[in-house]
């Protein structure tokens, strides 16, 4: 009687894309052109023509929130050891005050890139106060932000992959914003709620709230146990609603699909830019040999 062991290591991928919801995953598969999963695995592959190894691996977390995201990231790392990991999907933005600079104003459908992840759940509640606690985890790659996000975001081509029309029918493209992102375990949709208001005051520089970046960041932090593995990660989120707006729930219903498409479109543009980078790197490597 033979027995097939489930392989823990499936290959070497360059980029791993993690999505959370079905809509995000559907957009990811279409935008990255991956239609079939590696048999018996949750991974959809876009193979590289050069190496035969997959260039991009797309997968979906088993559920929302940080724990499933962490498990998904750690499994992705174990199976593919990707050099780059993108968490792409939607988030609830923080609507800025009316007197804020125009460049700081977020609009629905815009895409935010995290430069810092705040895990807002790890805190002590005492005397009606929230005292944040600290725990070790990674933060998004400065290398990617400096060398790829800035340049790609100024090129209009990144919009090309957005598959949906804007729900507001405006003839404008979404913008890219870089800032702090808060990761928690709750959907923030209680604009007048005491707890939410307190958190917004406490994390006053946060531009968006979501539920998975901490999970991915902590898995990457754990994986960083050898000088031979130095994964770079990004959180890329389309704004589906504003957590501090009365219309939060209705906006989310209307904008989620577009926002997911915008986030994945930007992820695709970064991936394309990295592909050029890989080609150059491989060429230099061949020259050296």
């Amino acid at each position: 009687m033979s027995f097939q062991f489930e392989r823990r290591r499936l290959g070497q991928a360059r980029i791993g894309i993690i999505t959370i919801t079905h809509e995000e995953f559907d957009h990811a598969r279409r935008i990255f052109g991956v239609s079939a999963a590696l048999h018996g695995t949750p991974y959809f592959l876009a193979p590289s023509e050069d190496t035969g190894q997959p260039h991009v691996v797309v997968c979906q977390a088993s559920s929302r929130s940080n724990l499933p995201a962490s498990q998904t990231a750690s499994r992705l790392i174990e199976a593919w050891r990707p050099e780059y990991i993108f968490l792409a999907g939607t988030a609830g933005g923080v609507q800025q005050k009316e007197d804020a600079k125009k460049s700081e104003q977020l609009n629905l459908g815009d895409v935010i890139i995290a430069d810092y992840i705040d895990y807002v759940e790890y805190a002590k509640l005492t005397d009606n106060k929230i005292i944040p606690r600290k725990i070790a985890y990674d933060h998004p790659s400065m290398h990617l932000r400096m060398n790829f996000v800035t340049s790609v975001s100024t090129e209009k081509r990144w919009h090309e992959h957005i598959e949906r029309a804007r729900p507001d029918q405006k003839n404008i493209h979404p913008s890219i914003h870089v800032g702090n992102v808060a990761a928690g375990e709750k959907i923030f949709a209680d604009y007048a709620g005491e707890h939410q208001i307190k958190l917004l005051e406490l994390f006053d520089k946060v531009i968006a709230f979501e539920m998975e970046s901490y999970g991915v960041a902590s898995a990457i932090c754990e994986a960083r146990c050898s000088v031979d593995y130095n994964p770079q990660f990004l959180t890329i989120r389309g704004i589906s609603d504003f957590v501090n707006a009365k219309t939060s729930n209705a906006d989310r219903d209307a904008w989620t699909d577009y926002a997911a498409s915008a986030a994945l479109s930007f992820a695709r543009a970064i991936t394309d830019a990295l592909q050029v980078h890989f080609s150059e790197r491989d060429a230099f490597s061949r020259l050296e040999k």
Binding site: E6, S74, E78, R133, I135
Partner: protein
């Protein structure tokens, strides 16, 4: 010299090979086959998905990353790992065996200070591993080198530490290329951090042809196997039993009798030396809570003559100032012999000592097998039951020797055990329901089958009702027990004190009967007033009985008990009961109880057994959980997590 140089790699492999060459390996070498199982249910039922050669264990570990090799004591797990280590080292891999038998009580404090997976794996490698290996040395190896971390005897450490070992390995392997682990463990269900990442394997019984051939070669004929009944044949396919039988040429028909032969006929202990060695073996467990102990302490208790005979015969292995028995079953046998020889020693403390606080039950089965008459065997099982139902179940299922009078209890006693386990299948706490099902699965299907296939508690009651007493020994108490068990026994609240303080089985059955119906105020008051009893078992039964009584006064009583009772098993029962009350009570009572637990997390955190049970108990059966249970349970988990992290 850089550690990744070829020479350094060869040096490392040489040092590991030298260490591996000292592993004792029995001869003749049996040929083992490995069974692979999709679940613990299949493992307990002995139904593998696939069977492979023993060498595939390494392949499984390297391809899949993690293998748990689960089996009964004496199932050749250690031997399989040792052989694997040698062959893979010769093949060029880097292999270490982490011997959990060397884990001592003093390691616990240091272990608890280590928080990361890397630190914990490093502790295991450097402190308990063969050869001079560490996480840093593993990380310095060239990427193509395959590494195997073999862990022998996960069951040798307390359950909490065992779980932490699994979690540390799980994480370490995840991020370590070309590395795999095989963890040998007793036949107990473990919770895996990521269950799909582990492959479940077991060494299969030795095949019939091999048993016949070995018996013919060593004994001259295989009649014993050919003419034996199913149980006798099964025993001969157990690697430890067969190996010891071939070595000792014994006619023993039980494991305990065979081990006795080893000590008496092979090691040459006389009856006085056997008694003194038994006492020393027991004291080694009690004083050091480890399979490894100071030789001087053993010598002082066993006496020079017995100690010399044990060491010269190879039964006791001495390494520097530490000693360990050549097989833990031999140590278990001696410790069990000391306990079973005098009923005054059948106390909770003594039972805790020989089972490492209910972590390893082999000694109980070996104790039962050393009892020669049914009445004493019944009494011993009753006493174990009073201490731990799973210990009693294990002693009965594993200590069965139908071919001899040893270890035999009355049919009625077996029915009681099966029925009391069976009703736990409908326990509110998922871990209890699962554990009860697992314990039943270890019994032969001929006896446990109907109890496993019962679809409701009523089926169990009907099974019990349909069983008449068959033994004069049991006629009186069995009928009384049946009435109580089936709920047909009527009692006044004033009788509660008498019943709950009655003998072991009646007392616990009464406690369970109380749980099946709403508690009247007078009975509640009566039970609570008896919590002043000096008998800790009676107090434990009372908190157990109060568990399904969602009343504020009961909750308050249990909270006080949890903080003030001196007995760990009473506190263990109290935390379970509090969680049950929270789950069954109104949302106000639930909030109140859970708030109390959160507010007292600091005090409870110091009670390892209570915290462990709380963690298990908050996972209740999903279809019986109130709507806000997840939120409430998470708030408790977070309170403990935060304190644990801060501290």
């Amino acid at each position: 010299m850089r550690p990744t140089d070829g020479t350094a790699l060869l040096d490392l492999r040489e040092s590991l090979l030298r260490a591996a060459s000292t592993f004792p390996l029995p001869t003749p070498e049996f040929t083992y086959r490995i069974g692979w199982f999709a679940s613990y249910e299949q493992l307990f039922a002995g139904q593998p998905d696939a069977e492979t050669e023993a060498s595939t264990l390494a392949e499984g570990a390297l391809v899949a990353g993690r293998v748990i090799l689960s089996g009964r004591g004496g199932g050749a797990k250690s031997v399989a790992l040792r052989r694997l280590a040698r062959s893979r080292l010769e093949h060029g891999d880097i292999v270490t065996i982490i011997d959990m038998k060397r884990w001592s009580r003093s390691d616990v404090d240091e272990w608890n200070l280590l928080l990361s997976a890397t630190e914990r794996v490093d502790f295991l490698l450097s402190r308990l591993g063969s050869g001079e290996l560490s996480v840093r040395r593993l990380a310095a190896l060239p990427p193509h080198v395959q590494r195997l971390i073999l862990v022998d005897g996960l069951n040798e450490v307390p359950a909490t530490a065992g779980q932490q070992v699994l979690e540390a390995l799980e994480q370490f392997i995840r991020y370590s290329p070309n590395t795999g682990t095989i963890v040998a463990d007793r036949l107990v269900r473990r919770s895996f951090p990521d269950v799909e990442r582990w492959h479940l394997a077991s060494i299969l019984p030795i095949d019939d042809e091999q048993v016949r051939r070995l018996l013919q070669e060593k004994v001259g004929n295989s009649a014993r196997f050919d003419t034996g009944d199913r149980d006798a044949r099964a025993m001969l396919t157990n690697p430890y039993f067969l190996d010891a039988l071939l070595g000792a040429g014994s006619e023993a028909t039980s494991l305990a009798a065979l081990i006795r032969d080893l000590f008496v006929n092979h090691a040459g202990l006389d009856s006085t030396e056997l008694i003194s060695a038994s006492k020393a073996a027991f004291l080694a467990y009690r004083e050091f809570a480890s399979r490894t102990f100071p030789f001087e302490a053993f010598l002082a208790s066993a006496g020079t003559s017995a100690a010399e005979k044990l060491t010269s015969s190879g039964r006791l292995l001495v390494d520097g100032d530490r000693a360990t028995f050549d097989h833990h079953l031999n140590h278990d046998f001696l410790a069990a012999a000391f306990v079973v020889a005098d009923s005054k020693r059948w106390s909770n403390d003594f039972l805790d000592a020989i089972t490492f606080s209910a972590s390893s039950f082999d000694a109980l089965a070996l104790a039962l097998q050393q009892i020669q008459d049914v009445a004493t065997a019944d009494a011993f099982v009753r006493r174990i039951y009073d201490w731990n139902i799973y210990g009693a179940a294990y002693a009965l299922s594993e200590g069965r020797t139908p071919d001899s009078p040893q270890g035999r209890v009355t049919t009625e006693m077996e029915i009681v055990m099966l029925a009391m386990l069976a009703i736990r299948r409908w326990d509110l706490i998922t871990a209890t329901a699962t554990r009860a099902r697992d314990a039943l699965s270890l019994f032969p299907s001929s006896s446990a089958g109907p109890f496993l296939s019962a679809t409701e508690i009523g089926d169990v009651v009907r099974l019990v009702d349909a069983t008449p007493p068959t033994s004069d020994l049991a006629t009186g108490w069995f009928n009384e027990w049946k009435l109580l068990f089936s709920g047909k026994s009527l009692f006044e609240p004033g009788e509660a004190a008498q019943l709950i303080a009655a003998d072991d089985i009646i007392g616990w059955t009464f406690a369970n009967a109380v749980r099946r119906n709403p508690l009247e105020q007078s009975l509640r008051d009566n039970l609570i007033s008896k919590l002043k009893s000096p008998n800790s078992t009676v107090r434990w039964r009372i908190v157990h009985a109060l568990g399904l009584d969602p009343d504020p006064k009961t909750a308050e009583t249990l909270e006080k008990t949890l903080l003030s009772d001196i007995d760990k098993w009473v506190r263990y029962g109290a935390i379970r009961a509090l969680v049950e009350i929270a789950a069954l009570g109104s949302s106000e009572l639930r909030s109140s109880v859970m708030r109390w637990i959160r507010d007292h997390a600091g005090e409870l955190l110091a009670q390892d057994r209570v915290v462990r049970e709380l963690k298990a108990a908050v996972a209740i059966e999903p279809n019986r959980a109130p709507a806000d249970w997840l939120t409430q349970a998470m708030s408790v988990v977070e309170a403990f997590y935060e304190l644990d992290t801060i501290n």
